[in-house]
């Protein structure tokens, strides 16, 4: 009976994961989908705690430890998730992803210890007691045991390596997005990385085959996998972090699926593979939105150290500055204004002020829309989430394909802290690292006002000729302060 209930709880878990993920893909049902999956997860977790039986038919013990971990983790997790700023969302996802990877890694470490005990117990008597005719029989049993041990080892190693890479990589990605870690590239980074990965795989393979032995091999593989995770993410530019996080996300899924194999546990296997596959596709879709291939992101080294030396051609010319009063006046007497939000808006937490400006303009009879580039901010959908937070109506947020034809009939484009996504070099300059990326055609508008902190290059580290366009005026300063100035000018005039 109990076992049947456990199977049922896993079935419920598995089905809710699939339905939940499906519902997450549609704006109307997304929130419910998340809750459906969370419900299924809770059923599977409590089913395991109370109904799971070990091979010798006993219930799980150490319940106080289990509940201690669950409660402590829930409190910390909820607080962290509730407190985090909307702008820091990508980091948070990366951090949680790393926790999952570390969890898979720890499971492998503990199971490896268990396996060692089993092997020791099986080995000793065969040497001492048995002799003669019994020997052959014992050898067959031992061979069968070894074969099953090898399969187990394979799974344990897979979980260990993938979990460790995902953990270390996610931590680096988190540090990079949080500006705690700078881009850093070793000489011949790619060669080092591939070599390291080969060493890890060969060591693990030799150990599983029984050619090398000793627990030190296991821990060496662990250490090298962690190192690989660090080196894998280090050289990738900050702008590509979302893609990397999505990829590491699917890694952790696969690591979880390894646990499913290990315990013959359907819900772990199903949930893990589902995320592994969905995560991979999501990664590819994200790359497509930036018109780049996955290999290009991983090996291309885009936006990293190289950029300082001036990739692409440098742009010469004069820039025109404008003050808040003139900019406000210009917008107030326009018919149509399009706002292009970028990461600068997110950093300055200026989404509410931006909405206020939009409302003031509407009151003056100006038509206001937002143009959302697929990779504006640090993650696809980042800007939508931010602007939705400050109550900007859904239908004012237009995606790139929809809004691009409208720029020609627009009086003023207000670019707030965006750079690479409006750089015309993506269309014209073949040498530019962002060549081929679809951009917002803001240069078709009558006037362009660019709000920026200074003349620094964007994340891709390249000059933007848009700033030197005669139609462009620069409005320097922190996005929030400048927007506040615009709002007060708007109210006073």
């Amino acid at each position: 009976m109990e076992n049947n209930l456990l199977v049922l709880s896993y079935l419920i878990g598995s089905v809710t994961f699939i339905i939940g993920l499906k519902m997450l893909g549609k704006p109307d049902s997304a929130r419910k989908g998340n809750l459906v999956a969370a419900f299924g997860m809770a059923v599977a977790i409590f089913g395991t705690i109370f109904l799971y039986k070990t091979t010798d038919g006993k219930h799980l013990h150490n319940l106080e430890w289990i509940f201690g971990g669950l409660i402590l983790g829930s409190v910390i997790g909820t607080l962290a998730a509730k407190r985090v700023q909307m702008t820091a969302m990508p980091q948070m996802v990366s951090l949680f992803n790393g926790m999952g990877g570390a969890c898979a890694m720890l499971i492998s470490i503990i199971e490896f210890g268990h396996l060692g005990e089993i092997l020791n117990a099986a080995n000793i008597p065969t040497q001492e007691i048995m002799g003669g005719a019994m020997n052959e029989f014992v050898q067959t049993i031992q061979a069968a045991l070894m074969a099953s041990v090898r399969v187990k080892l394979l799974i344990i190693f897979a979980g260990l390596i993938i979990g460790a890479i995902s953990f270390a990589g996610s931590m680096i990605a988190w540090g990079k997005l949080d500006d705690k870690i700078k881009d850093f590239t070793l000489p011949a980074q790619q060669v080092v990385n591939i070599g390291l990965l080969l060493v890890i795989l060969v060591l693990a393979g030799l150990f599983i085959a029984g050619t090398v032995s000793g627990a030190w091999v296991f821990y060496l593989v662990l250490a090298l996998s962690l190192l690989y995770g660090v080196l894998f993410v280090f050289p990738i530019g900050g702008a590509d972090m979302p893609v990397v996080i999505s990829l590491l996300n699917s890694f952790t899924g696969v690591a979880a699926a390894c646990g499913g194999f290990l315990y013959d546990n359907q819900v772990m296997l199903l949930g893990g593979i589902l995320v592994g596959s969905a995560g991979t596709i999501l990664t590819v879709v994200m790359c497509k939105a930036m018109n780049r291939s996955l290999t290009n992101v991983l090996i291309g080294n885009f936006g990293g150290n190289k950029s300082g030396g001036g990739e692409g051609k440098t742009v010469q010319g004069t820039i025109k500055e404008v003050n808040a009063a003139d900019a406000a006046m210009l917008m107030k007497y326009s018919k149509k204004v399009i706002i292009v939000p970028g990461y600068g808006l997110a950093v300055a937490q200026a989404q509410h002020t931006c909405h206020e400006l939009e409302e003031l303009l509407e009151k003056e009879g100006v038509e206001v829309k937002y143009a959302i580039h697929p990779v504006a901010g640090r993650m696809p959908g980042h800007m939508n989430v931010l602007l939705a937070e400050s109550n900007v109506p859904y239908d004012k947020l237009l995606e790139m394909e929809e809004i691009n034809p409208e720029f020609a009939s627009t009086d003023v484009v207000l670019v707030i802290g965006a750079n690479d996504v409006v750089n015309p070099a993506a269309r014209t300059d073949k040498d530019s690292p962002i060549y081929g990326m679809p951009i917002l055609d803001v240069d078709n508008a009558q006037h362009i006002i660019v709000m920026k902190r200074g003349m620094n290059a964007g994340y891709a580290g390249i000059e933007n000729e848009l700033f030197f366009d005669p139609k462009t005026s620069m409005l320097f300063g922190d996005a929030k302060k400048t927007l506040l100035a615009l709002v007060s000018e708007m109210k006073n005039s």
Binding site: P27, R31, M99
Partner: protein, 100 residues
């Protein structure tokens, strides 16, 4: 060679499931609007927190102090992944429910 075939035969259910799930995953994500990429990634992130079930099993079987400490850590980290993941996703999606 034989051992590989044996492995496939013994684990055929698992292998079928893996292959089918890969296709389900691809189908589910195929056409999703860009604005939902981040919440979707975050939701998927929470779902792979299912690894916590492995952590619970390990913890529940642990006898030595070392295994207990590691198991406890695993349960703690897994819970962070699950709870944090779902709560963060819910917070993101909360913002979409507004008037359409």
């Amino acid at each position: 060679m034989n051992s590989i075939l044996d492995f496939i035969t013994e684990n055929q259910q698992m292998i079928y499931m893996v292959i089918l799930m890969i296709f389900v995953g691809i189908e589910l994500i195929g056409k999703v609007p860009t604005i939902l990429h981040t919440p979707l990634m975050s939701g998927a992130n929470a779902i792979h927190g299912v690894v916590i079930i492995g952590a619970i099993i390990v913890m529940g079987e642990a006898d030595t102090m070392g295994a207990k400490v590691l198991g406890f850590l695993a349960v703690l980290l897994g819970t962070l992944n699950v709870v944090g993941g779902f709560v963060v996703t819910d917070r993101m999606l909360q913002m979409f429910k507004k008037k359409k």
